[in-house]
């Protein structure tokens, strides 16, 4: 019998600190698979952000730099400009990227930095205990929207992939989910294209993952995973929003 599914090599063999059923684990594995696939273990520099994924460096068998909250895209800009032949990615939550880090992601994208951004949208601030994120859905209860997010005062869930696609500087922009095997397989393929965008020197690539946070959604992992298809996908449609084959710059 042959082993047809195994742990990617780039994923250090230690247990994740994530909560049961958290999709961060799946997304970490997909990133590691790509590092393996494109033989990037020796040339990758990862930029970890602040959020539940801050321990990225404990899990990825590559060089990692920790960025201040929200600034991963600026940090990655510095890294990539200094080391243009390395593969550079950021891994950021929706608080990190779409709230405090808005200016940094918009301008890194607009400059067309040759980096790959893995963006995890779980509609809450996970690490800090479930406060509202810019992506929190209308009516969703969080610890800072105890009566549900009300657009009149708290604004609307922001669609980052769409905003990114609007910027001239971006080359590849997509939104995926890993809530069922079908979506997950598609996410894999999309993530590969994002990696290839950078590897081929074509510019800025951005993949938004819809992700479950059972803990802060106060749902069972199963219920949380189903919520993605039921509530999130209708508002945050999946797909490739932009794929520019011109040689980036």
């Amino acid at each position: 019998m042959k082993q047809i599914f195994k742990r990617p090599k780039a994923l250090v063999d230690v247990p994740f600190h994530f909560c049961p059923g958290c999709h961060h684990g799946i997304i970490h594995r997909l990133v590691a698979e790509c590092i393996d696939r494109y033989k990037l273990r020796g040339s990758t520099i990862g930029v970890a952000s602040v959020g539940c994924s801050v321990f990225l460096y404990d899990y990825m068998d590559v060089d990692v730099l920790e960025a201040p909250h929200g600034r991963a895209a600026a940090v990655a800009t510095g890294v990539k400009r200094a080391c243009p032949s390395n593969f550079v990615f950021t891994y950021q939550g929706d608080g990190d990227l779409a709230a405090i880090g808005t200016a940094e992601i918009v301008h890194a994208a607009n400059r067309g930095e040759h980096i790959t951004v893995v963006f995890v949208n779980n509609t809450v601030f996970g690490m800090t205990g479930g406060q509202m994120a810019p992506t929190t859905m209308e009516g969703q209860e969080t610890t800072t929207t105890p009566f549900g997010r009300e657009p009149g005062t708290n604004g609307y869930p922001i669609k980052m992939a769409e905003v990114m696609a609007e910027l001239t500087g971006t080359t590849f922009v997509a939104r995926v989910a890993v809530d069922n095997p079908k979506n997950l397989m598609r996410a894999k393929k999309v993530l590969r294209r994002a990696f290839e965008t950078q590897i081929k020197g074509k510019g800025f690539s951005f993949v938004e993952f819809l992700s479950a946070c059972p803990t802060n959604w106060k749902m069972s992992p199963e219920r949380a995973t189903r919520r993605i298809g039921e509530e999130m996908v209708p508002y945050f449609p999946l797909g490739i929003f932009k794929e520019d084959n011109a040689s980036g710059v």
């Binding site: 019998m1 042959k2 082993q3 047809i4 599914f5 195994k6 742990r7 994923l11 247990p15 994740f16 994530f18 909560c19 049961p20 059923g21 958290c22 999709h23 961060h24 684990g25 799946i26 594995r29 890993v178 069922n180 095997p181 997950l184 397989m185 059972p214 069972s220 992992p221 199963e222 995973t225």
Partner: protein, 67 residues
């Protein structure tokens, strides 16, 4: 002929593998591992087709699949 193997001490009993299995042969048992989580198990290994769905969906990379 396919086989799935669980690295029990890593399982957190989230049940995403159970959701993913098209054959419905997985379940979260009442056995508790050292970290205090109930662990997933196969009920009917014979029926496994080796589709790897459970392994793909497992957030904690608990499952390996052989075929």
């Amino acid at each position: 002929m396919a086989k799935v193997k669980f690295r029990e001490e890593r399982c957190k009993g989230c049940g995403l593998c159970v959701m993913a299995c098209p054959k419905g042969i997985l379940r979260v048992s009442s056995r508790i591992n050292r970290s205090g989580y109930p662990v997933a198990e196969v009920q009917d290994m014979e029926a496994c087709t080796g589709c790897t769905f459970c392994a793909e969906m497992c957030p904690d990379v608990v499952i390996t699949v052989f075929k």
